[in-house]
Symmetry: C2
Subunit: 476 residues, 2 copies
């Protein structure tokens, strides 16, 4: 066992680590992590799980019978794979059903438009037909006088999403999706439409949730497929007055969703828990293969690879298939991450680390460690195990994790990130095109290998990320 | 003027050619063709035309008001571009309207399937719900006993189309689309479904026409998007009994379509005509940008480039925007190519050459000359003009041309082919994804340049392809 000066400097708790029976940087632990990595790269259950999930159940909207049935099936699947304490944790939520929808340009030369209602958008209560007023940003919409869009359809076309490996093109456009209906309502509009948030050029609208204002989504909101956004924008550019007819029977309903939880119980310190996770629900248009059947497949397969390594780790490795991630309701009500946090109570203090896989199935290219863990012996051990499969240390610490683990992170649980290549993720995200064939099995196996190796390093040691935090950075 | 031994050998009419005022292989004619080529490469009207056509009118099903309106607009467009004798030639046809359609797997775990009715398929007259029987070829379906599919839905999944530059993966699968409904009906099936004929992996069903049997399409027929075909085939592979509910209100109706015809009248031998063409109609799912707004754009832009070259060619260059190509009715009734042939009567004898552009907008890579023209001075002149923009001589003569010029070719008009790169054509063909953004303007300009240069070589000469034909090959 070796301890570096940097780790000693990082935390007053380093002496506790030095006294522990095994830490991540042990040569034996590293060797075992490498063996788990290589075994997972060659064979794992990820493809089998996501194939069955997506083929048998198709789309799994939060709170739908399909999500509920898939959860019951996934619990059986986890039991059959040797997970312990497999349980289903129910919670209430407001569900949303798309119903029937259509849109068309009307007038002398009518043509159908390919659209999808935004999640939790209300129905139109019969067709809405109105003139379109186009904006190129949310700011431009916000700048017009109150009432100036009375009886009109507000349209924001802010162009195609910028394609980036880390997915950072998404943020600027989801602002529009979230705030657009409220902003349009404030100006008197009767509906809100926008260019889909996506990097593809296919005839695929991208749905996604939008923001509640005083307990409701204030206007029917729709995403246009890229080509349809082009058509509307070009017609306006040609000087035409564009009138559109919108129809949607979308509605909300009271239902329940659930988390599916299973453990690989630790051999010596089972109350110390590493929580891996991903969400079970999907949008209704595709079959939720990359968002996020793959994440459950990857994390479950990683835990299984650890369990099968011939030695159980010291700590417990837990997999949570969260229900209802694709819903943005206040105070973490109605989503699986909030329900999980409430369910564990004070055990949250013994949650030593968490991470989620929610960015498709393409390869992992960087590891983001919890704040304060950079430059430690743990970081060097992880780097040593992950570099051979193409994973570099991230220059940034991981601070947030994602929606599912957000409540845990807010409660102080250290979070790591295995950053996936998102170059093509937003071509498929929230569309009908999110289907099994988009998963590259080789890249998914690399994910499983990286998760299994990293989680082994955390689980078969007493590495304490909380203790590495700089003073004053308790929350994350 | 030079005449090669091979051209002399090719035809007894070579002496007539030698006496003509200008033949294609003249250095001056070649230089002018090269200048037209380069001018067209830099600037042409193709993108403007196809942008307006697809944006203003959207889908243009054969015989629809949209096709009729687009034809009237295109005639005005041609007049504005300086075409002469612009006229619209009407003809009757049986049109087809898709109406509303849906499909879903039913049972304990229902899921929606993305499908499209095949063209001219009858409606289902209320929902059809039945068990699916899967075949991997048309031959396998044909081999089962009569009546053995009573009450069932026949399903052929012959796998994805093979991706080929020349599009030759299409033929084996269109056989299934054409003959499938009839074959299924012969075994007692209540409906026919198939994997879409396409090379893409998007959630896009590919429609297309299917074959009449005794005056009707005998069963409702549908194409499944690739991912949906995968789902059905995988469920059957898992041992599940798959039941599907199909619904379609598709129906036929009596209507008219039309050809739009315009000329660049020849300066010295105006009765000798070179006919360029493409079709105006499109399938209803996309906006018919690559199939075949682009073809009209390319051929019209090529003729315009010739007209603007400062010297009108000796012969007349005619552009025909054919109506109703996407329909396969007996005896060339109900399609624009047949109507055009009937309209010209004996003038067909003075049609010196024809060609059509109906394979998207990607670059031309080979020139197929009429049978007998290979190795002639004309071929060498064409090669010299086209090689600098990446067009090679095809090792094969062009024998067929395509659906629009098929009737002309049957009537003895020599046909050439400017072969386009079809590598990605069948990703988009007959889907909702056939939209303007799929056109690469640079590649489309290369098409215009190739057409303009080649057609100039034919039009400003008295090259006689009929005379080059080997004895006994009169029809083509």
């Amino acid at each position: 066992m070796r301890l570096s000066a940097s780790l000693l400097a990082a935390s007053a708790l380093a002496l506790t680590l030095a006294a522990a029976p095994a830490v991540a940087q042990d040569a034996a632990v590293i060797a075992r992590a490498a063996a788990i990595r290589d075994a997972a790269m060659n064979q794992n259950i990820a493809l089998d799980y996501v194939t069955q999930l997506t083929t048998r159940f198709g789309p799994r909207p939060a709170g739908s019978k399909s999500e509920q049935d898939a959860a019951a099936w996934a619990a059986d699947y986890m039991r059959a794979q040797g997970f312990q304490n497999v349980r289903i944790e129910e919670f209430p939520l407001v569900g949303w059903e798309r119903g029937e929808e259509s849109a068309a340009i009307v007038g002398d030369h009518p043509q159908r438009l390919v659209i999808a209602a935004l999640g939790h958008s209300p129905g139109t209560n019969g067709p809405i037909e109105a003139e379109v007023v186009r904006f190129t940003s949310l700011e431009a919409l916000n700048a017009v006088p109150a009432g100036s869009l009375a009886g009109k359809i507000a349209y924001i076309d802010a162009g195609q999403m910028v394609r980036m490996q880390d997915g950072s093109g998404y943020g600027p456009l989801t602002r529009i999706r979230g705030a657009g209906p409220g902003a349009a309502a404030a100006k008197g509009a009767v509906a809100f439409i926008m260019r889909s948030v996506g990097s593809d050029e296919h005839r695929m609208p991208h749905t996604g949730t939008t923001r509640y204002v005083n307990g409701v989504v204030p206007l029917p909101g729709f995403a246009l497929a890229a080509a349809d956004a082009d058509t509307v924008s070009r017609l306006i550019g040609m000087g035409e007055t564009v009138r559109i007819r919108l129809s949607s029977t979308a509605h909300t309903y009271q239902t329940t969703s659930q988390n599916v939880i299973g453990d690989i119980v630790g051999r010596s310190r089972p109350n110390e828990v590493i929580v891996l996770g991903s969400h079970m629900d999907s949008w209704d248009l595709g079959t939720g293969a990359i968002d996020d059947g793959a994440g459950g497949a990857i994390t479950m397969a990683a835990a299984k690879a650890i369990a099968e390594s011939g030695r159980r780790p010291a700590r417990t490795v837990r997999v949570v298939l969260y229900g209802s991630e694709e819903v943005d309701q206040p105070n973490n009500q109605g989503n699986g991450g909030g329900a999980y946090l409430r369910g564990i109570g004070t055990a949250v203090e013994q949650h030593v680390a968490t991470g989620e896989s929610d960015f498709g199935a393409d390869r992992i290219y960087a590891l983001g460690l919890p704040l304060g863990a950079q430059g430690t012996d743990f970081a060097r051990a992880a780097g040593q195990v992950l570099y051979p499969i193409g994973v570099l240390p991230s220059p940034q610490p991981e601070l947030h994790g994602g929606s599912d683990v957000g409540p845990l992170v807010e409660a102080g649980v250290p979070v790591f990130g295995l950053n996936q290549d998102g170059t093509r993720y937003f071509d498929l995200h929230h569309t009908a095109d999110d289907t099994l064939d988009k998963i590259d099995p080789e890249q998914m196996s690399q994910n499983v290998a990286a998760w299994a190796a990293l989680v082994w390093l955390i689980a078969d040691s007493d590495v304490d990320f909380r203790a590495m935090r700089p003073a004053g950075a308790a929350a994350h």
